[in-house]
């Protein structure tokens, strides 16, 4: 029986250690997970739901002490869940929506102009195809290095850089065209 007690004590200690690790992971990575989710979903409540889902999955499916790189693993799960949720929320076929945005009336002052431009830019970014938008957006998150973005997207680091560059180029062209239309 004493051997059984030792085994039970070890199991309890392991569970407590696992709980401590899990809590530490939440405190360390929750903000990053939230930002990744928000970068895809652009909604605070949805991003928080995804954040919760990421940690719930971590708790249910993985032994956290066995995850080699917690940050990369959680970033990847967060991105996948957010993309999945975004696809469900947004039906396909909206990729070219930004091109069809009707030109708005000229704002009288600079503030309105800035707001209008910012809204249009956001629409442009959202309208980018996913293979270009995801590297660009994830790269802007300060928590993730290009190497980690590459690991999340499962592409090479060079591909991350080239796609982000291409995305910026497209945005620049479309913004220029939009501004010319407004003149």
């Amino acid at each position: 029986m004493s051997a059984d007690l030792v085994v039970a004590e070890k199991a309890i200690a392991a569970m407590q250690e696992e709980e401590n690790l899990f809590e530490a992971a939440i405190r360390t990575h929750a903000r990053m997970v939230y930002r990744i989710a928000h970068s895809v979903l652009r909604d605070a409540a949805e991003a928080e739901d995804v954040t919760q889902e990421v940690f719930l999955r971590t708790l249910r499916q993985k032994n956290i002490s066995r995850i080699r790189d917690q940050k990369a693993w959680m970033a990847r799960v967060a991105w996948r869940l957010a993309v999945e949720r975004h696809r469900k929320a947004r039906p396909s076929g909206l990729a070219g929506e930004a091109d069809q945005v009707p030109s708005r009336e000229r704002a009288a002052d600079e503030i309105l102009w800035q707001q209008e431009r910012a809204a249009f830019l956001e629409q442009l970014i959202e309208a980018l195809p996913d293979p270009l938008r995801h590297p660009l957006v994830l790269w802007t998150l300060e928590e993730l290095s290009p190497r980690e973005v590459a690991a999340v997207l499962d592409i090479s680091e060079a591909a991350v850089r080239s796609r982000a560059f291409r995305a910026r180029q497209i945005l620049r062209e479309r913004l220029t065209a939009w501004m010319e239309r407004r003149r």
């Binding site: 029986m1 059984d4 085994v7 039970a8 199991a11 809590e23 939440i26 405190r27 929750a30 903000r31 939230y34 930002r35 928000h38 970068s39 605070a44 991003a47 928080e48 954040t51 919760q52 940690f55 719930l56 708790l59 431009r117 910012a118 830019l121 956001e122 970014i125 660009l136 957006v137 802007t140 998150l141 300060e142 910026r168 945005l171 620049r172 913004l175 220029t176 501004m179």
Partner: protein, 176 residues
Amino acid sequence: MRERQDIDQWLDEALSRYADVEPRPGLESRMLARLAAQQPAPRTISWWALAFGMAALAGLLLLWLRPALQPAPAPSTLWTAQLPPVPLSLQHTTSPTAAVRSERPRSVRVDLARQNAEAKQERFPSPSPLTEQEKMLARFVEDFPQKAALVAQTQTELYQQDQKEMARPWPVKEND
């Protein structure tokens, strides 16, 4: 050129809005609280399962070890000492009719004996205690094994002699 710089700046500003997002204060605490609220059932079950599992394991171990911990009963040397070996004269009969007659019953007997032996082995050690006579005999065999062997040998010889006598063809009277 100026316009290009402006556009790049606007792009950076737009992208920074993706990066500079701050969750509502207390995100970590909310996550911990929500996960704790969603997880209690499985956690409780696992603790109870662990406790019941340990108890069941201990019970099974006790059941398994119980026969081994009990003192084994003294071996029944009485039968080994008393039972003589089966005489050869019984196995090989000279009479052809006797051979034919004894063929089937003997095999049946052997099978039954084997079955009985197997049944005894399954029930070994026998739960019934030895009688006083058996205990005395067993003690005698243990204390004086040579004498016991001599007695057994003498009895075996006597038994064999009796069997030989019985196996002889019955003398037929001339009158018959």
